[in-house]
Amino acid sequence: MQRRLPALLLVLPALTVILFLFVLPLALSVAGAFETETGFGLDNFVKSFALYSSDMIFTLMIVGLSTCMIGLVSIAIGGYLTLGENPRAVAILRWLYRWPLFIPFIVVGQVLRTFLAKNGLMNNILVGAGLITPLQAISFLDWRGIVIAFVWKQTPFVTLLLAGAMASVDRGTIEAARNLGASRARILVEILVPQVARTLMVGLVLSFVTMMSVLSVPLMINAQSPTMLTADIAFRINAYGDYGVANALGLISLAATACVAWFYLRQSMRDRG
């Protein structure tokens, strides 16, 4: 008992901070989701589903698609960093791929807004290169723009984790496979990826959660209908001062991220057991 008291005192400041700045607001916002003008009820959720059910599906599809693409691209980059045979190409790639890590989401949104527009930089280059005609140019400022922004911004983060894990994989397994004549692609898919699957999963789950909470990118690129839940939450508060429905929407997106987290936890428990 006497040993425990100082220990408790030591964690107390951190615990208080977490309680007051995280747990309490979370509890209040959960309670707020059920608060209606006539007491507690499900009105806010009824309204959320009536108005924003297409946005919920849209959000999950976008974030889901982005997560898959991030997974694929980062496996490709990580794989080349580990298995690539041209040291100069590897060095350049290693230097380049981290850049987007240091760029905030809002800047990504701003940059892509002019880059992906119908008469934006990308289409101008394609037209200039004679690849498309001006009439074929289309604007990417819709769901595709959001996916591009997410993949561009989150891939380096997952790759960083993944490349580290791949580097620490026992080289012997790779050499053995190569000696037996396996191609590099096959080594990547059958030897490397299975051994780093857990790290990949952590990276993807963290990316999913991050992307669910990004407001700036949908606001900058596509705040129309359908749009992402974060834009709807901001709109409920800004236009109507309606915290009830905003909280309900927040809780719904929390449920989505909780599903992913649960899946991840179950997987890691199974791996351990």
Partner: protein, 378 residues
Amino acid sequence: MRNLLSATLALGLASTPVAAAELTVITAGDQNMVDYINEYLGPLFEEQNPGHTVRAVGTGPGDAGSQKIVERFEAQKQAGSETWDTDVAVAHEKFIGPMIEGGYLAAYRDNIATGKLVTRANADMALGARVSGYVMPMFNSQTALAYNPALVPTPPKSYAELAAWVTENPKQFGYNGIKGGASGVSFVMGWIYAFGEGDADKLMNGPFEEAETQKWDAAFDSLKAFTRNATLTPGNAGTLDLLSRGEIAIGPVWVDMFYSWQANGQLPPEFKLVLPAPGMPGQPMHYVIPEKAANKELAEKFVALATSPKVQAEGIVKRFNWYPGIDAQHVQAELDADTWNKLFTDVTPEDLASYGKPFPIAPYNTAILEAYEAKAAN
């Protein structure tokens, strides 16, 4: 939850010491509002009142900015602060009613000399709430359709003509929906004025009747079909961006933003404006003074300066391309004919008088936005 958050916020604010002669002006709206105070009005006031300083704080664009001001006042009221951290606030008219209802504001218009220079109806009623005495309009703003004459030689003169034009020219009209800024909101309100089966005057002047909100179904159905042929833009500035890049040919914009962009060279000089029948909404921004402002007398002096004919002419009309807040004849006398005419080149004073509408009163406003989400956007 809001109460607790507000209380925490207020606690933080209340503990900040108030400097004796620092006038704090908080303003909603785009960066140009903060620029106006920092670059023009603040220095002018400091020059006329040596020793005092003006501090401008922006709370962000659109309704969100004004909502933040309301919450800030609410927080200080609930915390029981004796002196508030704000001396003058600039807010959208939709939020003035709630501020007066909450008892946050001082009735000061009769205390200042320029109070008599305002007779326009929207300085007495703000979206159905009686505000006379509590506000001085900083400026009046108006939405209109901006178009590229190279692509649209004869612009549509009414909503009905526009609807027909859009079916012939799909994706050439762009607006920003209702979630990306007030120019799109304004366009939607104008659509309901034009095609709603109810009485548009009732939407603007009240009273609020639930039955009225059931009369918009056909209008929203046609708006949904219309929007399918339109391009959705990301925000007020987004519409202007797309116009300048030639991606759309016509779209609703704020008149002041249009002129400012043109003056900066961000829009080609040949672009023009048209205000379609039966009209599109505009709105004033209002100066208000909190009842418990720390420097109330100084605040009144500040607003009196800001609404004096000279400042309205030089600052509001000439530099920032807004329509004056006080009655136009007092301002016109201070300006040369060229500057004055520039403001009314495309949209004439007659157009403004017949087609410049107020926004619907607050409950209809909210009902239309929700109906848009449920019926036109889903």
